[in-house]
Symmetry: C2
Subunit: 332 residues, 2 copies
């Protein structure tokens, strides 16, 4: 094997190379393989900084005939836009050959973080939402909301979507754009209780630090994906909503540390044993999914290293096959 | 602040930008700051692969007026040369602005790993070798041996050096090259016991998995830097040599897991409480260094994340001031 150089991929190139449909399939597969013990446990590392922090998610996996390793370094600085005009989240993924460590690609992490999180929502909805679910509410009309809705549309036949955001104009823009794109009726709303009360699916993907999705808003049979909380301060769901309902997590250790689960545990409203399953266990048929049309099921999503690896591999293989990006030999 | 793009630096550029003298000063400073509690604890993450593994070392530090974060992803595949014609160790460092997370630079890690390890040997020798030390033995005549000797030459007036390697021609080449470069008499030897017995300083930087530096080789007053062992299988020093002598480590947790200390602990020949100090504690005057001309002092070096950050920052700042490397805006 000859060193062929490291492929460099910008955000826009990554966005073009990674489709939500393909990412849903890959994320479903890695969750399953992990539950079956066929993938080494991934690793996570966090370093606090003054105004934010850095976290690294790293994992190794086989993909077709090849093994890959990826490490994503993401910086999260909540005041960045105000202070520096920079995005809150920025990062780089290092993708290596899992057989020999060669650095195959360096890519912007932003689209991967958004799309692989949306893909997990899609996978969870596929297994945990009612088959006939038709109405969804999206809380938080940013990029994550957009991809979450695109993912839901891949796994359920939605007829109506409510878009909720504290910034009402943002919700309206979102409704306009997604109506056109998905050919679903998307409506901006400001009464969250009413929208959720009419919904079969609700996705929360906001930067909230206060629970805003109350138990009393949610009707029986609803599937909820709690996507926004990914550090110990963030919270979207009323812990009372989690108590007594079926809670499925992406990774129990991670959700207990930084997900909405963390707050329910901290207040003593749940124990870890009350968690029904990790998503991979449901996919691998080790734990049952939805047991009735009535139960409320909550998916707590914090984002796993293996989702990043799976998405980065798709981007890399597609970039190679389409000749995208530029190459640089760092070892020279 | 405007996003100015990410600087890309190849191995040869890094080598040109990072001098051993400057790196010794920076590494001394970060060891001191860490001992004084002025730097957040760095993080480390390891993932095993079939034929090797990946490890990530990450840390955050202030440097002059600026804060920086660096994450080094290194792949270590011992059979790489035989199997793929690739180096055993390959890697990439992601350097970010510590105030806002912006990815400032991506650089090849090879020279940084070698030079920052050599620099730690230099710092340790500065504090722990006898002031009048003149004769040194280098075990392992690869790149790490070369930089270790360059570092020793910065902190002690060496008059004679013995070069030992299982590959005798490698030792001869090393002796020729380093004699010329450093204007010191460097002699290739194959009797390690004799060479060490005449030395004031001995550096081991081999890939050995068997202890080869025996207690009986070492005369009183010698300073030993054990640099090669950086995973649980590697070992260079006879545990009996560590027992009863003054052992200084870079990081006690890391050395207890992957350094030569690990083997001495495992055989019950030392406890953690027998470790005299971390190097930073000696630099910060929290623990005494050398107490007599007679004592044998061993420095167990496994390589710390903060050494990587310090070296990467030097490279970056020098690259900016000299206009080196090319820039790419990944966020586009």
């Amino acid at each position: 094997m000859k060193a062929q150089g490291t492929l460099l991929l910008k955000r826009r190139e990554v966005a073009t190379l990674l489709s939500i449909g393909e990412c849903i399939a890959a994320v479903e597969e890695v969750f399953k393989l992990q539950a079956e013990g066929k993938i080494s446990p991934p690793g996570i590392l966090g370093i606090h900084a003054r105004e934010g922090g850095f976290h690294i998610k790293a994992g190794l996996m086989g993909f077709g005939q090849r093994n890959y390793f990826a490490a994503k370094t993401n910086a999260n600085f909540p005041q960045n836009m105000k202070r520096f005009g920079l995005p809150l989240i920025q990062g780089i993924i290092v993708l290596c050959d899992g057989e020999n460590g060669y650095p195959l690609a360096l890519m912007d992490s932003m689209e991967i973080t958004i799309i692989r999180s949306g893909a997990a929502t899609g996978v969870a909805a596929k297994y945990l939402a009612r088959a006939e679910a038709k109405v969804a509410t999206i809380c938080g009309c940013g990029n994550q909301g957009r991809v979450s809705l695109q993912a839901l549309a891949q796994v359920r036949s939605l007829s109506r979507v409510y878009a909720f955001d504290l910034d009402e104009r943002q919700a309206e823009r979102f409704a306009d754009e997604l109506s056109d794109e998905l050919r679903i009726e998307v409506e901006a709303v400001n009464d969250l209780a009413k929208a959720v009360g009419e919904s079969d699916i609700c996705v929360t993907c906001t930067p909230s630090k206060q629970p805003f999705l109350k138990r009393e808003y949610v009707r029986p049979g609803t599937f909820i994906a709690a996507v926004g909380a990914d550090n110990e301060e963030k919270q979207e769901l009323d812990p009372a909503l989690m108590q007594g309902n079926k809670v499925v997590v992406d990774l129990i250790e991670q959700c207990a540390a930084i997900g909405d689960l963390h707050h329910a545990l901290e207040r003593g409203m749940m124990t870890r044993r009350d968690v029904h399953a990790e998503l991979g266990e449901v996919i691998a048929h080790r734990k049952p999914g939805r047991a009735s049309a009535e139960e409320i099921i909550i998916f707590d999503s914090t984002g796993t290293a293996l989702q990043d690896v799976a998405a980065a591999v798709i981007v890399y293989e597609r970039a190679v096959s389409t000749g995208s990006g530029v190459t640089m030999n760092f070892a020279e």
